[in-house]
Amino acid sequence: MARIDLVDLAHSYGGNDAAPESFALKPVTMTWRQGGAYALLGPSGCGKTTLLNLISGIITPSRGEILFDGVDVTPLSTQKRNIAQVFQFPVIYDTMTVGQNLAFPLRNRGVPRAEIDARVAEIARLLDLTHDLNRKATRLTADAKQKISLGRGLVRADVAAILFDEPLTVIDPELKWQLRSKLKALHRELDLTMIYVTHDQTEALTFADTVVVMHDGRVVQSGTPAELFEKPAHTFVGYFIGSPGMNIVPAEVSGREARIGGHVIALNRNYGQLPADARIEVGVRPEFVDVTTPTPDLLSAKIERIDDLGRIRFARVRVGDAKFAARVPAGFSISDGVAGLKFDPAHVHVYADSRLVEGTA
């Protein structure tokens, strides 16, 4: 149990002399507070596993420091860091029974026999493995094997943090839900820091109280699910989180107005001085754009198709070259292929070179 601080941490698999742009993890400084449930979210190859392996000590960073409760652990080996990690694919020790597998991390650390037995029984109960404790682990299904891997991660009560590297990839969808709720329950019960790597936004948003979004080796935003949804700090976050993702279109912005394809949209805040050479875009989530009957004061769009998601309908529309997704209000029926788009000014954000511009009130 510890607070984990990353200080200017960066890593390149090509060594420290590699070009800064080629770093798998670009310099990051951040704090993981004790007892937090974090999700590390991003597409494949964005550096999230690298970050996880740096924290657990499987790889040594090219530069920067990792502190556990203020103590520099960067030069320490994985064994000495007292951290648990669960990998994407099940790792089980072939010759051992399920029980011996679960006991392995404790046995290696010389924990007394009675304590091991109690811990193993406890974890087996939590993961429904009690009946299989005396079976050879190789004879189980992939699901059960991954539960053993999870169990080995959870079996040590005193770890600084538990890291999960996409642990539910091989698990059936239904069991996935159960295991995820179990992990959440365990988190509340044990007051452990958990860091959960995933590329699945649903998984991240349901598990974590803080979601850290990574893109191209950088941490682009860290916040609660609501913050990520309502105020993406980076166009990537807007696009990656939400289904469908945020609408991001090039625009000219001056003061409290944004101009898209010659049409003016009102903004809630004042964006006085935007950098002249920056690429300016406007982002708005489909949930905050309504399709209505076209009128001269609305941005007019050509409807290409309607996606009915059951509870909600989204229209895929085209404005000039730009594509939009917009909400179709309940009961609204489209008469022909043309519609007006009504924006909610409070949720229209301005981005300069993909980064959110705050604006002034």
């Binding site: 000590g57 499987i58 994985t78 189980l140 091989v170």
Partner: protein, 300 residues
């Protein structure tokens, strides 16, 4: 479903029959034929029934005595070289580099002894061990060790065993290395996380993951060492006395030296049968080892 009748298929099958008949069935039946008869040349044969086999399996006769003596020699030899080559091969595989140019260098060096023809290996060690001009023999004798593989049984055995270890340990090492390379990194990472010692990593991960290739290595090395002929024949000629006369050497002595075709045929059939049985046992063990796994295997 209707069966398609196509007599032309015989044209594809018959050549195979012919080839197998001439390469395996006819020679084997010739040997069976010899083993049941006695001949003094001139194509004159006298029916002997199972007489040769009775003699062969009775240790009190000359033939039986020689057969059992060479059989025990062979089994002892196989046991010794397996006991040396398998652990040594594992140790070499474990200490080999995982990546970089040194991997290729190690593989080439390891493969070299495997590429040398058997009788050349025998000749190399024959000269190497000679007390008068051989590097090994001369050095040992200069150090005050009385080493002479021609006259001393122990020295002869030691040389044959060291020669086989030199020749074949690479095979075990290469197989083990292949087995080690196939272990995903995640296993080692998980072991680090679990705080496993180097020894625990070996017993919990590496050895179990190598067990298939090890079975293959043991099978290949057993078969090869059980059939060994050329190297000891070139090195010691089966001597001193009969101390390094293995079954195959005994067989050649009986068949070509004494021209006892009936005895030799009986001996080769029994020899063949032993190898077939051992093969079958290994095969059963290996397939059973595979069947222990559950039918629904994960990606790991």
């Amino acid at each position: 479903m209707d069966k398609v009748v196509n007599q032309k298929a015989w044209l594809l099958v018959l050549p195979v029959f012919a080839v197998v008949a001439f390469s395996a069935i006819i020679p084997l039946m010739t040997v069976v034929n010899y083993s049941l008869q006695d001949t003094f040349g001139n194509n004159q044969f006298f029916w002997n029934g199972v007489g040769w086999f009775k003699e062969l399996l009775d240790p009190s006769t000359d033939l039986g005595g020689r057969f059992f003596a060479s059989l025990w020699r062979n089994l002892f030899f196989s046991a010794v070289i397996l006991a040396i080559e398998v652990p040594l091969g594992i140790v070499i595989a474990l200490s080999m580099p995982r990546q970089g140019w040194t991997v290729a260098a190690c593989l080439v060096i390891l493969a070299l002894p495997l590429l040398i023809p058997w009788n050349v290996v025998g000749t190399i060690w024959q000269i190497f061990g000679r007390p008068d001009i051989g590097l090994l023999g001369y050095t040992l004798n200069s150090l005050g060790i009385n080493y002479n593989y021609v006259s001393n049984e122990f020295d002869a055995w030691a040389t044959v065993i060291v020669m086989d270890v030199w020749h074949w340990t690479s095979l075990v090492a290469l197989l083990c290395y292949a087995g080690l390379k196939s272990i995903p990194d995640a296993y080692y990472q998980a072991a680090q996380i679990d705080g496993a010692s180097r020894w625990a990593v070996f017993t919990a991960i590496q050895l179990p993951k190598m067990h298939r290739v090890l079975l293959i290595a043991v099978l290949l090395r057993f078969m090869d060492s059980f059939m060994i002929y050329t190297e000891p024949f070139v090195l010691t000629g089966g001597g001193p006395g009969n101390s390094t006369t293995f079954i195959s050497i005994e067989l050649v002595k009986i068949a070509l030296g004494q021209f006892d075709l009936g005895k030799a045929a009986a001996l080769s059939l029994v020899y063949n049968l032993i190898i077939l049985i051992v093969c079958w046992v290994f095969y059963t063990v290996m397939t059973n080892a595979g069947a222990e796994r559950p039918p629904k295997e994960g990606i790991a």
